[in-house]
Symmetry: C2
Subunit: 275 residues, 2 copies
Amino acid sequence: MIPKSGHWSETYAVRPGTRFSLKRCNPRAPGGFASREQARSQAAADAEAIDRLQDRLYAEGRHALLVVLQGIDCSGKDGTVRAVFNSCGPIGVRIAAFKAPTPDELAHDFLWRVHRACPPKGFIGIFNRSHYEDVLVAKVRQLASPKTIEQRYDQINAFEALLSASGTRILKFMLNISKQEQAERLRERIATPEKRWKFNPADLEDRKLWNDYMRAYEIAIRRCSTQHAPWHVIPADHNWVRNAIIARIVRETLEEMDPQYPKPKDWNPAKIRVV
Amino acid sequence: MIPKSGHWSETYAVRPGTRFSLKRCNPRAPGGFASREQARSQAAADAEAIDRLQDRLYAEGRHALLVVLQGIDCSGKDGTVRAVFNSCGPIGVRIAAFKAPTPDELAHDFLWRVHRACPPKGFIGIFNRSHYEDVLVAKVRQLASPKTIEQRYDQINAFEALLSASGTRILKFMLNISKQEQAERLRERIATPEKRWKFNPADLEDRKLWNDYMRAYEIAIRRCSTQHAPWHVIPADHNWVRNAIIARIVRETLEEMDPQYPKPKDWNPAKIRVV
């Protein structure tokens, strides 16, 4: 058990109703770790703890945890999943990756496909990108009218309030990398044959709109960091810092949820005989 | 790369059209391992290899792998997933656990819910139980008429042939434990507070029908082990033997599929500049 529950979450959570500024968040912050080894070993221990807590979450079957990962290209969403959730493995963790919506999805409201992908009780759900794309790329690329975008912040808050009231704990993480770090990662991606398939020349168009994206993130975080579904802005230039902070916040949250193994209701372990 | 490709699969696969007998399969077979440590370290290395191969499978995006896990209660389906597929993590692996069908599922043919759960190209899909329950529990508990059950073997073969022809490689594993081993695992489950929630007194009713289940497995394996979707009967009393054999067969199969990283089609890595 971590002694000071909630400490790490408080450090990185954006307090609701404050005038949050992304410029004050340093993407290269060392996160208080003495070395990358220390960060890695803490993250590994926390990932094991998350695995044990997930078993309890599943056994109890009363709550779900939804982890939203948002970040620009190369911000490390997949790497976060591997470092924090591979110990749990695929049994207890459900991932939904949101790409450009299909015609069928576009024929519904923007939260329809998201709602379908929410984790059932007992599970950890991870959104690799999410409904926030509908106020990020949709805003920057003008895929919806300003009035529609404006409505969406409240619609998102109402939707997340429904999930929260219905037993789903929500943690939202913005993986905050610097423009320089993205350039390095894109160059590495292009230079490495095994990574090249992840690159799309269109990604460079988004990079040109960097400031617009950051502005859109800032507004989304400001409008939609709530008590029941807080946004956390994570320094992500160093992947070991990013992983260790997220693993710790997820662990803290699960410990606070404190799921319990259920006791047998209609049978007595002392009286069962296996023959 | 494993030198003798296909060797392990051939050892445990049930040859199509043969009069397969479950009695000739020893659940406690040591699988040729010198020690449990050797089996565990081979399984761990193979799990890492599966992770790397899955990355290629995803990047190539042309094929899927479907792994069907069947076995009686306590046969170790979840443990197999953890040992063989946790290295891949939840990103590339999709699990479907089939329980008693819902009213909506029952309002469709028995393969409807199964088809929906099949892995898309680029993914490894795992069925924790499967459409085979419809010729196992359905047969033993007489949930369908003998005529209906009889039709299902051919329907399953046609369905799996469709998947196979459409780019999905299929591997089916029967986790073969002895009745004595199940008794020990059930007793441990009942005795351990953290495992007790997995136990249902109704499981003992199934245990009484052990011979009927084994007979149903034998028939299903005989009727549905095909060239394109072979059944493998895995000695599963020792979990290290079970994990090592399955990991090796999955690895061999992925190596035989030999997925390749795609080359960039419409852009030249040498000409891209990230600014």
